[in-house]
């Protein structure tokens, strides 16, 4: 092998590259690991200096995340019967009793409903549109595609002003339907662009053969093209889901009591004397973990979506 060859890296250069990349990856992970650890600390441990790496793990953060509590006098506390659950016991250490569930569960469910609803709708509509753009001659197709993409250049706050007014008129503000429609509109540009790339790659001959066999165009679409595009549809769906799951700007402006999702809610979890950091960290962990697991499990499908199909020839 020539000493100048780059196409086959030497063992030593591989080692050096490996060490550098792993170092970067570990540094990248520190904040995430820290937040997962903080969720298991007591409020005092969470803000102690120097930062505690070794500590007594407790589930207080999670208990505080899911409940609302009220302080009662020590006499009243003593008069109560013994706590029957572990979470009651944790709360009573602080002279408090559980008053009821917190809003976190509701907010989380809202995130799930709005996330999956908008993902389904954008992938459904996006697949139809992408198929049409890929297979039929549509007048001004390039302009339409550019128009679809350019809708992503608007700052969300700029879009939010008229949407806010429009939703107020239509009674859609703070509803699940309103948020699903909005996220679908934002996601559909990405969906059409990605899916068009995937469908472009399916040979036309398959459908043409089906058409000759007496299938209608519609049947050819759902019997031949859809199964072939399944992987592409799945990875597009993951992207739409992650966007809707993570979105904050529209959620904080357009939702409040009824349809609020988790991202605007998590930073507002208040404890005694300011933010309850272990509870915030617990909320963040529960909210971020599904996405992290998703990313690791489906990494091969995600890669292409992230690069907007840039790697495609």
């Amino acid at each position: 092998m020539s000493a100048y060859s780059i196409s086959a890296p030497t063992t030593r250069s591989k080692w050096v590259a490996g060490i550098l990349v792993v170092t970067y990856a570990i540094i990248t992970m520190i904040p995430l690991i820290w937040i997962i650890l903080t969720a298991f600390k007591s409020p005092a441990d969470a803000i102690s200096y120097p930062p505690k790496v070794v500590f007594d793990p407790t589930l207080e953060g999670y208990v505080n995340l899911f409940t609302t509590r009220t302080r009662i006098s020590p006499e009243a506390l003593a008069a109560l019967p013994e706590p029957d659950t572990w979470y009651d016991r944790i709360v009573r250490q602080y002279d408090m009793v559980i008053a009821g569930p917190s809003k976190f569960g509701e907010r989380f469910v809202n995130s799930v409903i709005i996330g999956f609803g908008s993902t389904f709708l954008s992938v459904f509509l996006g697949t139809l549109a992408a198929y049409a753009f890929s297979r039929f001659r549509i007048p001004l197709a390039d302009d339409l595609l550019f128009f679809i993409l350019s809708t992503r250049m608007m700052p969300p706050i700029a879009v939010a002003i008229p949407i806010f007014l429009m939703y107020r008129q239509l009674g859609l503000s703070d509803t699940h339907l309103g948020m699903i429609l909005l996220y679908t509109a934002v996601n559909i540009s990405l969906a059409v662009w990605l899916l068009k790339g995937f469908i472009d790659e399916i040979p036309r001959e398959y459908e043409e053969a089906a058409l000759i066999d007496g299938y209608t165009r519609f049947q050819a679409f759902y019997k031949v093209v859809l199964p072939q595009a399944a992987t592409g549809i799945a990875s597009t769906a993951i992207f739409c889901l992650i966007f809707a799951w993570n979105e904050y700007a529209f959620a904080v402006l357009l939702t409040s009591a009824n349809a609020q999702t988790a991202p605007p809610f998590i930073p507002t979890i208040i404890g005694v004397g300011g933010l309850d950091w272990p509870a915030v960290a617990a909320g963040a962990t529960l909210f971020l973990l599904p996405v992290m697991i998703f990313t690791v499990a489906l990494r091969n499908h995600l890669l292409r979506g992230i690069t907007f199909g840039a790697g495609r020839k």
Binding site: P51, P155, V159, L165, R217, F221, T295, A310
Partner: protein, 319 residues
């Protein structure tokens, strides 16, 4: 007909379709199907993007306030635009945005490219570590901003501790979120942490698209590795890199959630990016007309810059 689950499913779907609808669908020409397929998307975009845009343009010429429903808005012509462009706050937020944009893009391009170049050596486990590096960009920016504000807290939290450990300074001697000099860098650091992997992935796609024979030919010609790097690697990756910069540029021009949770625009106005400024005008001061004009100015700026940039990108690609 074959008997795969897909076929069975399709047959069931066909049988479940009402006869009238089925007849109609079957009889449709390709052109009609094309329009039926595209129409819902276009309709949705018209309703949720274009109609509001036109509404915004209209509002931008009035002094409408969304919190006062009973007052008739007055037509004020171009006065909103005039005020915005002569307001020093607007220019301050533009400057904050420019600082944020330039530094995040510079750092992300440098680190992202370097990482991609290293990962492309394909050492053992590179796929796994790539996934780990990609994690931050999949997370919710608002939640990320929120927990970084925790890491940044002075005296007691992690970031100060690490910096103090590395530099030997007193950890309570600086407060990165509270200082006018440091806060703009606080948001640059978090955005770089979060989005470097994006640039890295696109660069990686670029590096993998370079055919091996180019390097082999260069090696036959006895071109040094450094020469190969600058005459093959860099020019071949450049279009990809420019694409990454375009996406990051557009995204960071719109930046709102991460920074609002991290600094809230402070201290003072030093990290008030244009989106945060716009949010205050529209939803805190309720100057809807003024904010609409602001929104239009931002949109035109982004659109204009992006169009110029795309032209440049196409020139590079044609080369």
């Amino acid at each position: 007909m074959s008997d795969t689950p897909i076929h069975r499913g399709a047959d069931r779907a066909a049988r479940a379709t009402p006869a009238r609808v089925a007849r109609k669908v079957r009889g449709l020409s390709d052109r009609a199907i094309a329009w039926i397929f595209v129409a819902p998307t276009i309709f949705l975009l018209l309703a949720v993007n274009i109609f509001p845009l036109i509404w915004t343009i209209r509002l931008s010429f009035t002094n409408y306030r969304a919190n006062r429903l009973n007052r008739e808005p007055e037509w004020v012509g171009l006065r909103n635009y005039e005020r915005i462009l002569t307001d020093s706050d607007t220019w301050a937020s533009m400057q904050a945005t420019a600082h944020f944009l330039i530094w995040t893009i510079a750092l992300q391009v440098l680190i992202g490219f370097a990482l991609a170049w290293l990962i492309n050596r394909q050492f053992k486990g590179s796929a796994f570590w790539t996934t780990i590096i990609v994690l931050p960009m999949m997370l919710s920016p608002a939640v990320v901003g929120n927990f970084w504000s925790f890491l940044y807290q002075p005296q007691i939290r992690l970031f100060n501790y690490v910096i103090a450990f590395l530099s030997g300074q007193d950890p309570s001697s600086f407060d990165i979120l509270g200082s006018v000099n440091l806060a703009p860098w606080a948001i640059v650091i978090v955005d770089t942490w979060m989005w470097t992997p994006f640039v890295m992935l696109i660069c990686l796609a670029g590096l993998r698209s370079i055919p091996d024979y180019l390097y082999e030919a260069a090696a036959v010609d006895r071109a040094s590795p450094i020469r190969q790097f600058f005459t093959i690697t860099v020019p071949m990756v450049l279009p990809f890199l420019m694409l990454a910069v375009l996406f990051r540029g557009i995204e960071n021009f719109k930046m709102f959630d991460l920074v609002v949770q991290l600094t809230g625009g402070g201290p003072g106005n030093i990290t008030t990016l244009t989106s945060i400024d716009l949010k205050r005008e529209a939803f805190e001061k309720w100057r809807t007309g003024y904010a609409s004009a602001y929104a239009i100015i931002l949109f035109v700026t982004v659109f204009g810059l992006a169009s110029i940039y795309v032209k440049a990108l196409n020139k590079v690609r044609e080369r």
